[in-house]
């Protein structure tokens, strides 16, 4: 019910109300709390506040010429004006519920209708609640990729072995990345922040494109377009950054964040084209990447080989090309187990082929 009411009072009216309340001599702690709760709900509230501030600035300029009417005359005119001092004050401020109750007492004929409406709405919202309480889940198996368009128009592309939970609410869009990696293309809706939780990281977007890659030891958030705010991360991160396009934050299990700028976006989103792009990456890491996408395993047993860096682009399901690269390295030996898995050793390495 409160929500319906709030929509009826425009955000700019609410902003003007807050301006006036907080410009009082001593706003109370609860007023400040309510204001903060209100202003952080959606960007529109911030905009409305700034507009009121500009109006205030415009009428506070020294050059403003005010009417010369004396204060006494103003007061006399106001008190003399018929009926004006008893303007019916409709519930202007939504969170003052007593106004509504007064109305009900004054018009008992409306009570039954109101009660009926309330119970219908309660039933409706109850079923809504049950619907929302059961989030939608989407997941992919190893080697699969899948795109879903959510009811709000946002698109989520799931990478291999990934799983998300989606809850779309009236004032919020909540996504939980339970495992794996996903690219989010968020439909712009300033009134419904889009929050993605991935373990100890929560990021908020309004309308943007970003990738979250959740691994066992860390979570990487990369912004492709627009901006997102990190609104929660583990305990040890100090200030949480606002990320712009080409920024990446890697948060480890202890909540320590590491910020990188000018990330190569083509590499970050290459997976959506079923590509793996590597720029001077160690072979061990590349093998691990192939292992994310394929049931068969590539195991490089030689530490020196694991550290050797290469640059290249592969299709994520094309293990054979990568194996060909490995086999072409002088001194490397590849053993195929015949079931899609490979063990790679090198001359002088500690392990021998089984």
């Amino acid at each position: 019910m409160t929500h319906v009411n709030e929509e009826q009072t425009s955000i700019s009216q609410q902003a003007a109300h807050w301006w006036v309340v907080l410009h009082n001599a001593n706003p109370s702690a609860s007023e400040k709390r309510e204001f903060v709760e209100w202003v952080t709900r959606v960007p529109d509230c911030v905009e409305a506040c700034l507009r009121v501030a500009l109006v205030h600035a415009a009428v506070s300029r020294a050059e403003v010429r005010w009417p010369a009417t004396s204060a006494e005359d103003l007061v006399r005119d106001a008190l003399a004006a018929p009926g004006d001092s008893v303007i019916p004050l409709r519930p202007h401020v939504p969170w003052k519920r007593e106004d509504k109750r007064e109305d009900e007492h004054r018009r008992p004929a409306l009570r039954w209708a109101a009660a009926l409406a309330v119970s219908v709405m309660a039933a409706a919202s109850l079923s809504w609640w049950f619907m929302l309480a059961r989030p939608e889940q989407f997941q992919t198996n190893v080697g699969e990729q899948h795109s879903v368009v959510l009811a709000d128009g946002s698109r989520v592309t799931l990478n291999t072995a990934s799983k998300i939970e989606v809850r779309l609410r009236a004032g919020h869009r909540d996504i939980n990345l339970l495992q794996g990696e996903a690219l989010f293309e968020v439909a712009h809706d300033a009134r419904r922040p889009f929050d993605v939780r991935a373990g100890n990281v929560v990021v908020r977007a309004v309308g943007t494109r970003f990738d979250i890659d959740r691994r066992a030891t860390h979570t990487a958030v990369t912004v492709v377009e627009g901006r997102v705010a990190m609104i929660a991360a583990g305990s040890r991160t100090g200030t949480l950054p606002v990320l712009s396009a080409r920024d990446r934050v890697i948060v480890d299990g202890a909540g320590v964040a590491d910020l990188e700028h000018n990330v190569n976006l083509a590499e970050t989103t290459a997976w959506t084209q079923h590509q793996l792009v590597f720029h001077h990456r160690p072979l061990g890491e590349i093998a691990d990447e192939f292992n994310r996408y394929n049931v068969g395993r590539i195991e490089i047993r030689s530490p020196s080989l694991r550290e050797q860096e290469v640059t290249g682009t592969f299709r994520s399901n094309d293990v054979a090309s990568f194996i060909a690269v490995l086999a072409g390295i002088p001194g490397a030996h590849v053993v195929d187990d015949g079931a899609g898995s490979y063990i790679v050793t090198s001359d002088g390495s500690e392990a021998t082929a089984p």
Partner: protein
């Protein structure tokens, strides 16, 4: 005239507010919001290609409400202010002038006009809304 804050900057301001952990602990959250917006606006101006003819905004200009846009619009907003004051009820005009011109407290205004402080706040909030609609044209 609000171009400097109401474009992408509002989203940026919003996002920055979100990362302030205990915003309600800030002594004056609204002033804090304006501060953040101002920083965003300044950074935003920094990003614009500058030429000699461009006015460079600095902190003081914004603090005093002396935005160049406001200067340009001063004449226009003066006219609009007069129109609004002429069109509102005597009660609202009294509240607006006693507050904005004479800088009286809500309590004093309420006593003078024999209304409650809450009514004073409502008149004032509606007055701001009228002014905004008029000034934004």
């Amino acid at each position: 005239m609000q171009a400097w804050v109401v474009g992408d900057e509002r989203a940026e301001t919003y996002l920055r507010l979100l990362r302030t952990h205990d915003l309600s602990e800030v002594r004056n959250p609204q002033a804090y919001l304006l501060q953040v917006a101002k920083h965003v606006a300044l950074e935003w101006c920094d990003r614009q290609p500058r030429s000699d003819s461009n006015v460079v905004l600095d902190d003081e200009m914004l603090v005093d409400g002396q935005l160049p846009e406001l200067e340009v619009d001063a004449l226009l907003s003066q006219q609009r202010l007069e129109t609004v004051l002429a069109s509102v009820s005597p009660m609202m005009r009294a509240v607006l002038l006693l507050r904005l011109r004479d800088e009286r407290s809500y309590q004093e205004i309420a006593a003078e006009l024999r209304i409650t402080e809450r009514q004073v706040r409502r008149y004032l909030a509606r007055g701001y809304e009228r002014l905004r609609l008029a000034i934004e044209g």
